[in-house]
């Protein structure tokens, strides 16, 4: 069932024998709940090291999708029958569960979208409605395209100016430079940065930036796509006013994203998409709009997906997000050591596992990331090659693209060993000496 490595016969079968494993976090037992991890690719055991792209799903989540359609399927909030009530309960139950998962004050602060990109577009569009020429929006050069382009569009529409945090040589947000330049100032209306970089793995000092944003009266938006799946999340501690994240990176289904917002802020924002369920009264001469979250959920929402995201939240909380974060930290430290033993390999971003999430992007002399990714795939190792939807960051780092290995709660030390060996093999294949 599991592809966890065989241990030497004379060592006890303790999970703590795996140096990358935290006491209490039994990776082998976790893996047994993920059916896909038992499959092979190209005749090799699958080594799935692309969880920053999307996570795999445990059996309970997979079954919950089928169970919803099998037993409770109906449209929500409008069907006057038993199944409609059950579907509505499942959907709203997902909302309450997600609210609890991130420590939201009330369920109505959770808006379901189709993904995190839509959540960020919702934020940019609705906050953008009050932007004027001379206003400033601040992002960072380390953002995913989905936290850059919606703000560029908002600035183009309104005449506001987009500014951004630079990074230090180590790959961390350069707060000192930002302070010298007065990056956040009285003209700043919105600050939007990622909690954890999807390329460098860096954990950004969101709380500090939020305090700075709030001191000038700006709204703090956080892209939590990589942070929420890896780190215990309490929105109040984070300091965010709006937090975007997605279901499929936290063992949930695709097709559902979340925009959490402080209720008073959400209530002050105009609608995003128009349609059914987001209205109060519609007349041909004009309409009034529902309060949040319905105001931002036009049309039939991702019902099964949102319901099952609640199941995913249950599953994660039972495992314990503290455990998830600790495992991520340990496996990242192990991988950083292994990868940096290879000649000519450059890790982008911090080379030590301090304030660092479970994504490691790297370049290797004379081997392009596509070639690296395909050679690794031929050995069953799934990584991502390219610019990971962060072209400006790659340009800033002076590289065209990179290979990214990313880890999650089911990643084993043996998978990291296979990665290091696969990278070394690829270097040799292209004529280098690893």
């Amino acid at each position: 069932m599991t592809t966890t490595p065989t241990r030497p016969a004379d060592t006890p079968a303790e999970p703590s024998q795996d140096v990358a494993t935290q006491p209490g976090h039994d990776v082998a037992a976790v893996r047994e709940q993920f059916p896909i991890l038992a499959r092979t690719v190209a005749g090799h055991p699958l080594r799935y090291l692309d969880s920053a792209n999307t996570s795999q799903k445990p059996e309970r989540v997979i079954e919950a999708v089928a169970a919803h359609y099998r037993e409770h399927n109906a449209n929500v909030a409008r069907a006057m029958h038993q199944l409609g009530a059950e579907a509505t309960e499942a959907y709203e139950g997902g909302r309450s569960r997600v609210a609890r998962f991130i420590g939201a004050a009330r369920a109505e602060e959770v808006v379901f979208t189709k993904n995190a990109s839509e959540a960020l577009n919702l934020a940019a569009h609705t906050l953008g409605a009050s932007l004027r020429e001379g206003d400033e929006v601040v992002v960072s050069v380390a953002e995913h395209h989905s936290n850059i382009v919606p703000w560029q569009l908002a600035c183009e529409r309104t005449g506001a100016t987009l500014r951004w945090f630079d990074i230090t040589e180590e790959g961390r947000l350069d707060l000192a430079k930002a302070e010298r330049e007065g990056l956040i100032n009285e003209r700043t209306k919105v600050v939007s940065v990622a909690w954890v970089s999807n390329v460098l793995g860096t954990v950004h000092p969101v709380r500090r930036i939020a305090d700075w944003a709030h001191s000038v009266g700006a709204v703090m938006v956080v892209d939590g796509c990589q942070g929420v799946p890896q780190l215990p999340t309490r929105v109040a501690d984070l300091g965010a006013d709006l937090l975007a994240f997605t279901g499929h990176k936290m063992v949930g289904p695709t097709g559902v994203g979340v925009l959490w917002g402080r209720y008073d802020l959400l209530a002050s924002l105009p609608p995003f998409l128009g349609g059914g369920e987001m209205i109060e009264v519609v007349r041909m001469t004009g309409s009034t709009y529902a309060p949040p979250p319905a105001r931002f959920e036009a049309g039939t929402p991702p019902i099964a997906e949102a319901a099952v995201l609640g199941v995913a939240a249950d599953w994660l909380d039972e495992l314990g997000m503290e455990q998830v974060a600790a495992h991520e930290q340990a496996i990242t430290r192990y991988a950083l050591e292994g990868l940096q033993s290879i000649n000519g390999l450059r890790v982008l971003g911090p080379t030590e596992a301090v304030d660092r999430g479970g994504a490691i992007s790297f370049t290797v002399a004379d081997v392009h990331p596509h070639d690296m990714a395909q050679l690794l795939d031929s050995r069953g190792i799934a990584v991502r090659g390219g610019h990971h939807c962060a072209r400006p960051l790659h340009e800033r780092l002076g590289v065209q693209s990179s290979t990214r290995a990313s880890f999650y709660l089911y990643t084993t030390q043996e998978e990291v060993d296979a990665l290091v060996e696969g990278v070394a093999h690829t270097v040799r294949f292209f004529g280098g000496t690893p």
Partner: protein, 154 residues
């Protein structure tokens, strides 16, 4: 020990990747184009210089994987000094080979080193890499106005 992927990387491809032919941008050109692969970030700036119906030079500056770089290098060998029509016909043949899912038998007489890419057709994710330089060449030729004489290329 090799596998299907490693077999795809023919020695010819690796040779062209390590020492690209006709690389670099040169002056005197009829058209310049910039093509990108948004999904992976590969980019090429490519210039064609024409003399009547003849391709007198193809120069380029590209960044990308071994497949895209080697394919562009091979393409320049095949079209420089030849008729524009011949170059466009070779583009069609190479396109057919790439879209053939490994079922098309390439004509070595015409595609020469280009036949080394036959294995790439079995990996759909890499087909666009192999086509990057060829597509840029066709686009540049059309922008230079040389392709107008071939309505079937329209």
């Amino acid at each position: 020990m090799t596998n299907a992927v490693e077999e795809m990387y023919q020695e010819i491809i690796l040779d062209h990747y390590r020492a690209k032919h006709h690389s670099g941008l040169r002056e005197s050109y009829a058209a310049e184009v910039h093509h990108v692969n948004p999904s992976c970030g590969d980019e090429v700036t490519l210039r064609v210089h024409l003399d009547g119906g003849t391709v007198t030079d193809v120069s380029y500056d590209g960044v990308g994987c071994s497949i895209s770089q080697a394919s562009t290098s091979v393409m320049t060998d095949l079209v420089i000094g030849k008729d524009v029509d011949h170059g466009l016909a070779l583009h069609e043949e190479f396109l057919t080979l790439m879209q053939g899912k490994g079922q098309v038998e390439p004509d070595e007489e015409r595609l020469e080193d280009g036949i080394a890419f036959a294995g790439v057709a079995r990996f759909p994710a890499r087909v666009k890499c192999a086509l990057l330089g060829w597509s840029a060449f066709k686009d540049a030729v059309l922008q230079a106005g040389a392709g107008d004489r071939r309505p079937e290329e329209g």
